[in-house]
Structures are given as C-alpha cells and as structure tokens.
Amino acid sequence: MAYLELDRVAKQFGAQTVVDDFSLSVGKGEFISFLGPSGCGKTTTLQMIAGFLDPTRGAIRLEGKDLTAIHPAKRGLGIVFQSYALFPHMTAAENVAFGLEMRNVPRAERAERVRAALAMVGLAGYEDRHPRRMSGGQQQRVALARALVIKPSVLLLDEPLSNLDAKLREEMQIELRQIQRTIGTTTILVTHDQNEAMSLSDRIVVMSQGKIEQIGTPQETYEKPASAFVSQFLGKTNDFAGTIDRTVSPTQLVAGSWRAPAPAGLGGPVTVSVRPERIGFGDTGLSAKIITRIFQGNHWLFQCDSECGPAIVIRQNDGIAQPAEGDAVRLTWRPEDMSVRARTGA
C-alpha cells in the first residue's frame, strides 16, 4: 500500500498551469527523485506536499489520510531547502533543537538527540558554531540534521546539493544515501542533475513542463525512456529516423542501411534511440564517417556523420585499435539496446 500518495495533483498560478495531473505513489522507506529542467514544477510539487502551497486540484494522502487538510506546522515533514534556510542567529545545536523545542521534548532528551543528529551528519564538535561561520557543506549538514532530528514521516529535499562544488556534492550524495538507508526515512529529492537522481534514488520521476514524463527505476528511465524528452534529458542519446517496412515478411525495421526484425505493435515512421556506449563498429549497419575522435582517458568519444544524421559513439579504451578521423565506418547495435517510438510529425 502506498505510504505517500499524490492523486492527480495540479497547481495553477492565475492562468498558468505549473503542475498538471501529477499522480505518484511512494512506498514507505523509498527514495524518490523529481528530475526535470528548470521551471518544470519540481519545487512547486514539493511545496504542495510540504503545505506551503495549496494544490488547485487533486489530493495528497499520507498513510491514507488527507494531508492537505493539515496545517504545514502539523504535518511533521522534514524539509531541507535549497538555500538551507538555517536560523543565522542560532548556533548549529540551537538550529537542530528548534523542532524538538516546538514538540516540547524535555531538555535532557533534546540535548541527547541534538548531539546524536549532529554526530550522524559528521558535525560532532560543531554544536556552538553559528551558520555564518560554517562552510556550505557544513551548513548543508546542519540543515539535514535539523530536518531529520524530528523523525519526519517524509523527508523533502529541494536541490540540497546544488550549492556545493562537484567534489563535495559527490561526497554528500554518498553520505545522504547512507543516512537514508540507515534510518529508512521516506525521501523525496528534487534535482535537475541526472547523475544525482540516478545514483541516489530507488525511482525517478522525470518531469517536463509540469507533467510526468516517466516514473521508473534509474535503469528503466535510462535504458527504456518512455519519450524523446526522457532519452534526451537522461544522458546523451542518438535518435535515428527509421521506418517499419511491412512489404517484407517478417516486417523489418529500417534505419538507413541498418535493419532488424521489427518490434511488434508499431508501424510507419519511427524514432530509434540508441545510447552512444551501446553502438559498435561493425561490417554491416548504418554507414557513417568519423568527423572527430576525442580521447577521454578511459574511453573514446567519436562524433560521426551518418546517413541518418549526426551520431555519437563511445568506446571503452580497451587497448584495441580504434578507427581514425575521416574513416568510413558502419555503426551497429543489438536490437535490445535500442528503444523504438512512433515518430510523430514525420
């Protein structure tokens, strides 16, 4: 049974629909990411769960109870804001203690829980620092401790790592995931960083212009993107224009001079998507010419000009000789490595 459920939630600002028909059910202990480009409505959705915005339509339920009827101060959710929104006039310990104070937790227990929470995020010994005297990463940890110490039913994170530099971000990702695994809090993370979403989440909700494009595990969304948007947004991809040829039997999928048995249920013009690392050089297949060849340490990146338009190919640097710039090659891939969608407007 779903722990947190969003049922056809929509939000309008005036005439502008910012979130539309958003349905999602989150299991207890799950780690979900909202992933999408800037302005697609991720924060708006999160704020509706938090209660800072009221949905225009739809219902939000937590353990079957209507969440929208509960005042935000009474929802008991833990929230980490993009700007952290720490209380600058309070020390780290006072910041973390604030939520417990509001819950009238006795002083001794409060001190113990604050200490444990700060230790959990690796800030033991920083109790008496003020936020302005802490680094971005440390402030981020205080914000996380402040949200977790109240034992929230759901943890909401709005781009918590986007203000950190790349290295620290990676460290915090690992730490965040470990903490979440240990205490098992149901978590929703908003991000526009696909790597972050993939490395942290159990499931990803890919959003575009206020609508859900796909909900799936990181692997599903990467390997079986449900739409052109998803395949473009999650990593690099090659889209080739192809057709289903019904004049032969069995029917064939044709993209330039590459052909394979057609998948069932499709006809006419289609788009064939293949990830660059799944394409190899063979004797048959799409004919192409290598424009540039870039060495990137553990792999080679080829930019090719194929019969079906530009293509990118990534090959592991496994010591085998690779074709050179200007070489004519044939691009080939296994049928299970592609995803085929009906092509509209062709």
Binding site: A73, K74, Y84, A85, F87, F98, M102
Partner: protein
C-alpha cells in the same frame, strides 16, 4: 619613468578627492571649529562678543538647572520618539514586506511620500488638526460630545513626540525593511515545517534577525529627533524649548552667540557619544551572528 608614473598614481586619489575634501573642510570642519571656539568667548549685553578664552558659558550650563532640564527634555523626547517609531515602524515594515507586489510598491510610496513634503508643512498639518480650540479634530470631538475641553497637543511633549514620530517614521521603516530583505525567503517556511506557529516565528525567528535593523533605525531616529529643529519650533514654540530651539534663540533673539555655541556644541558632543557608543554596543552584540 615608471617611478614617476607610480608617484602620479599614488597622488591620483588625493587629487581626485581634493575638491570634495576641500568642500568638507570648508563648510563643515571650519565652521564647527569656529563654533567650538566661540563657546569659550565672553558676551555682555552692551559689549557684545569678546574674543577671550573663558569658561563662563560652560559654567553656566553646568550649574543652571534650566539647561539640565532642557537637555533632559530633549533626550526624553528623542527616546520616546524612537520607541514610538520602533513600535509602529517595525511591524509596519514587516507587514509591508509580506504584501504582494503591486500593493507593496503602493504602500512603500505612501510611507516614503512624506519625505518629499517639507517637515514644516507636515508639522503645520498636525497643528491644524490638533492645535487649540480651533483644531479640526478637537472641534469635531467637542461637537460630538466625546470630550469637553480640547486635547492638549500644541506646546506639549506628547504633541512633540507624536509629530516627530510621524516625521521620522520613514527612516525606521526603511531601516527595518533593509534588514527584512536580508532574510532568507524560506526562513518562515523552515520554522513552520519544524512546528512553529505564527507568534513563535515572529518572536523567535524574525525579531532576532531584524533587531540590528531596528537598532540602526533607532540610532538614526534618535539623533535626528534630538537635534530636530523645525518640529519642536512649531509644536513647542518658545514655551516648550529643546536644545536645538534654545541654541537658536540664544543666537537670534538674545544675540548671546557664545552661549548658543556652547549649547550647540554640548548637543553635538552628547549625540556623537551616544551614537558612537550604542553603535559599538550593537556591533559587539551582533558581531558573531552577522559578520
């Protein structure tokens, strides 16, 4: 060659600031020094000003309780005005800050608008509303039977505090407003998500953060009210004098310039000490949080 260029570039800042510096020295420092010097000169009804060095004026100010009362009244009025602007101005700025776009700019204009009107015109407005038996408000209240005799306003400290507070309000609102702009826009949501109610949010989260703004606004309002001239002159006239109107009277009515200069110098020194002192206190109090 390069040494010369270096020398030139080292001189450049001085050369560039020279005009402003000269103006500053010419219109501020020199007259100020002359005023201080003047306060040590002698004066007599028939002999006029005598350029000697005596402590007569300072002795008179220090011993005559009339002056103590005058300065005490000046600072009492300034303190009450400061309290009144803080009590009204801080919530005003907070409410203003929470308004949505169009209303916000409209009311900001309403608050700042009075700055464009002369203090004299505004204070005369108060006098017209409350002054004596003929004041509009008093007339109305009397004819309604709400009061028997007119509410005293002119020539009272209450009237002066109210009129001064009205004049000084924009400075307090602007100062608190500036502090509010530095708040994290999500800070109230953060407190709310941790279970805080609206009163707790204001008391525990907002107030401590805008306090430096309130205090710096208070310093501005206090120093401006303590040295205000136009409003006390109109409301208090010559019956209820404060330090600034007293100095003015000594200069222009009694023609005892040295005594007026001593009053003015004392007011200046007292204000500088109070302002610098409280500023240092505030900076120390909030240093670790707001650096």
């Amino acid at each position: 060659m390069s040494a010369a260029a270096e020398e030139r570039s080292a001189r450049a800042p001085w050369a560039l600031t020279a005009p402003a510096l000269m103006l500053f020295v010419g219109v501020l420092l020199i007259p100020l020094a002359m005023t201080v010097m003047l306060s040590f000169h002698d004066w007599g009804q028939y002999k006029g000003i005598e350029p000697v060095f005596i402590l007569k004026n300072w002795h008179e100010i220090a011993t005559d309780p009339y002056y103590a009362e005058m300065f005490w009244r000046t600072f009492r009025i300034a303190i009450l005005t400061t309290l009144l602007t803080a009590l009204l101005g801080a919530p005003e700025a907070y409410i203003l800050n929470r308004m949505s776009g169009r209303w916000k700019s409209f009311f900001l204009l309403v608050i700042l608008g009075p700055l464009l009107i002369s203090v004299v015109a505004r204070t005369l407005g108060w006098a017209l509303l409350f002054g004596g038996n003929n004041g509009l408000v008093n007339k109305l209240l009397i004819s309604l039977g709400a009061i028997r005799s007119p509410i005293p306003f002119m020539f009272t400290e209450t009237g002066m505090v109210i009129a001064l507070a009205h004049v000084m309000m924009p400075f307090m609102v602007l100062s608190v407003w500036a502090a509010l702009q530095r708040l994290d826009p999500q800070i109230e949501n953060a407190a709310m998500s941790l279970g805080a109610g609206p009163v707790t949010i204001i008391r525990r989260i907002i107030m401590p953060q805008i306090m430096p703004g309130v205090l710096s606004g208070a310093i501005i309002v206090f120093s401006l009210s303590a040295s205000a001239f136009a409003t006390p002159a109109i409301i208090g006239g010559r019956r209820l004098k404060v330090a600034a109107t007293l100095a003015y009277d000594e200069f222009l009515n009694t023609l005892n310039w040295p005594l007026g200069a001593a009053v003015a110098t004392l007011l200046l020194v007292a204000l500088v000490l109070i302002v610098v002192g409280s500023n240092a206190l505030i900076e120390r109090r909030y240093a670790e949080v707001f650096r």
